[in-house]
Symmetry: C2
Subunit: 245 residues, 2 copies
DNA sequence: CGGGGGGTTGATCTCCTTCAATCAACGTGG
DNA sequence: CCACGTTGATTGAAGGAGATCAACCCCCCG
């Protein structure tokens, strides 16, 4: 099941300049290289169960994973969306606090937890980068709290689309003939879990945004955005597109 | 307005073992001592406005502050509750992302941002502790996302009370004659902003919990908890009280 | 005494959920 | 090649949890 055969050189790694290793010098990278290994996961496969002992930490190399929390009665809330270069796991904690699931086929660059922690203690560049990434995630989580607590269903959908647009614009500048477009990496149900809605409401609001010309659909997953400012307006965000544009 | 006259020795500081300086050795503490200064804020006073240049970072020494986000039309969401020992500000960012407001009279132990960042680069114990605290906050933010996205109004209130109980049990073990009790550090409106509700709903649900014997009130702010397990059940948390008890 | 901030309670409304039917795309086996 | 089941998505009808609008209370303070 695990695919340990492929072993890409760190210097060739597509997430080299964004992941937890981004700040590392060549010698630091060499030490990381020695303790790293790749693991592949199939779409739908659970990577880590909440409460389990964490054997490893690592970076998403390709594919998309989600971080979710579930109540006993089955109510679910997604609390993070992990794109390539995002870090999985928590140094210093023995057990996972959330479920981590691959929503697409996924490759992770893993480090066994113990050696990684030791390396972190002697390699400030790793700890520095991890701190920076964690602070970014904390800011993102807090923006999401505004969405969950105060936004309407329509605003939530518009926000989700614009955030996905922003995030994968940061990864690979992509436009379809001058027109901005994104592929939703989530099913309607997963979107609902992310947005604190039901899947029916998600479906209805997407239809409504389409009817109102804010977005156009091509299939269920591919969204075109004729007017980004309009979308951001619908999202209710005071801040303009920021790093996008 | 600022009260620079008091200058407590770090070694005497009440938050010495929980704040960002917790891991520091004596010599590291001395260097922090040199760049620190105290500032007092009155209840209701804004400490930092979202978007402002951050001149300083620091720790809450006493009192309570909130982190809030506001949309143009006035909808507000609290995204953090800062108790003594919590860290304010973000090294590496020039401007604040959220409003920080004192809800009670408050004292902060401040460090000018630049010197602190320099100190951080040479003092791994500070960066380590900050990383640890940030990871804790991220976990807390993600638990709050479950609350905001999926919990009912009643569950939200019960969760808030049990979280406050847990947090100030961690600070100072306090029980009123064997019976667990907490003082709510927030007005009904502030609770509403924290929970993603209206103040009317907060008031109604508190009354309901009181009527059902889950809590008893003494005045508006003082809550007694006759049966903690019952409260946690109402909160819908699968995890038991954890560090409390 | 008047006024204001904080809190409670009531009546009504509405946005979203819930329950349910329908549909399209896809794969599988007869 | 077509019936069948499955999975993801859309749409409709009904109901409910919480929002909104509004009245009123309590207590402190000038």
């Amino acid at each position: 099941m695990h695919d340990h055969s492929v072993h890409v050189q760190c210097s060739e790694c597509p997430i080299r300049h964004r992941a937890v290793c981004a700040r590392c010098e060549t010698d630091e990278l060499n030490r990381l290289e020695q303790i790293k290994y790749y693991r592949s996961f199939q779409a739908g496969q659970t990577i880590i169960w909440s409460g389990d002992r964490m054997e490893f930490v690592g970076s998403v190399v390709s594919g998309i994973a989600t971080l979710t929390q579930t109540m006993e009665d089955g109510r679910r809330q997604m609390v993070g969306l992990l794109l390539p270069s995002d870090f999985v796991g928590r140094p210093g904690r023995a057990t996972a606090a959330f479920d981590v699931t691959a929503t697409t086929d996924l490759v992770m660059c893993c480090f066994r937890k113990k050696p990684f922690e030791e390396l972190m203690a002697t390699t400030p560049h790793i700890a520095q980068r991890l701190l920076e990434m964690t602070l970014d995630e904390l800011d993102a989580a807090r923006e999401w709290m505004l969405l969950l607590g105060r936004k309407t269903a329509r605003e939530k959908i518009a926000s989700l689309i614009s955030i996905i647009a922003r995030r994968d614009a940061a990864l690979h500048l992509r436009r379809a003939g001058g027109k901005l477009a994104v592929d939703l990496p989530l099913t309607r149900e997963e979107m609902a879990d992310y947005l604190g809605l039901t899947l029916e409401t998600v479906s209805r609001q997407i239809s409504a945004l389409k009817k109102d010309g804010v977005i156009t659909l091509e299939g269920n997953r591919h969204v075109q955005i004729p007017d980004l400012d309009r979308l951001l307006e619908e999202a209710g965000d005071d801040s303009d597109g920021g790093m996008l544009v």
